[in-house]
Amino acid sequence: GQQVMQIPQYQHVQEGEDFTTYCNSSTTLSNIQWYKQRPGGHPVFLIQLVKSGEVKKQKRLTFQFGEAKKNSSLHITATQTTDVGTYFCAGRRRNTPLVFGKGTRLSVIA
């Protein structure tokens, strides 16, 4: 079945450093979504990428969708303590439910 791998599993950074998490799918995706889950909370939708090679930005967050639509990345510039949490990618093939990666847990040291 479809698998979505996400690395790294954990990342500890000093406040102000950059952070990147990578997502790879075993199959070509129709779209990919990114979610953030704060400690003790529930996942909250960040963004959806649909087009091959698409790049979207949300303030300090940059999201990319690979040309082959099998990989994606989330990059945070100059991390802040409010960025702490687990970031999940979730991919979907046409007309199938989302498959989530295992997430990258980000810790930011002030």
Partner: protein, 117 residues
């Protein structure tokens, strides 16, 4: 605006006891509904999804079951809990679009944290 309610928020159950988690959505009609489980430190595992009343698709064979008795109500049940059923259970909904399973983002409930002893 749309809201999703999930309860109970936490529960501790003995092995072999039954389980019932309930989820309701307000402010939308005919949503897709989902049950996910998140084990400690793990990702989100899709358990069940539903595209309409009485329509349930199971993604993982196990001792859990789901039902959708009403358009905006989704219930997760078990007759006999196992230790391995412990985890954080999340209900979610998304917009149903022309018969497709999922056309956009998932909106998650607050979650139910289950500990089986």
């Amino acid at each position: 605006s749309q809201t999703i309610h999930q309860w109970p928020a936490t529960l501790v159950q003995p092995v072999g006891s039954p389980l019932s988690l309930e989820c309701t959505v307000e402010g939308t009609s005919n949503p897709n509904l989902y049950w996910y489980r998140q084990a400690a430190g793990r990702g989100l595992q899709l358990l069940f999804y539903s595209v309409g009343i009485g329509q349930i698709s199971s993604e993982v064979p196990q001792n859990l079951s789901a039902s959708r008795p009403q358009d905006r109500q989704f219930i997760l049940s078990s007759k006999k809990l196992l230790l391995s059923d412990s985890g954080f259970y999340l209900c979610a909904w998304s917009v149903l679009g022309q018969g497709r399973v999922n056309t956009g983002e998932l909106f998650f409930g607050e979650g139910s944290r289950l500990t089986v002893l």
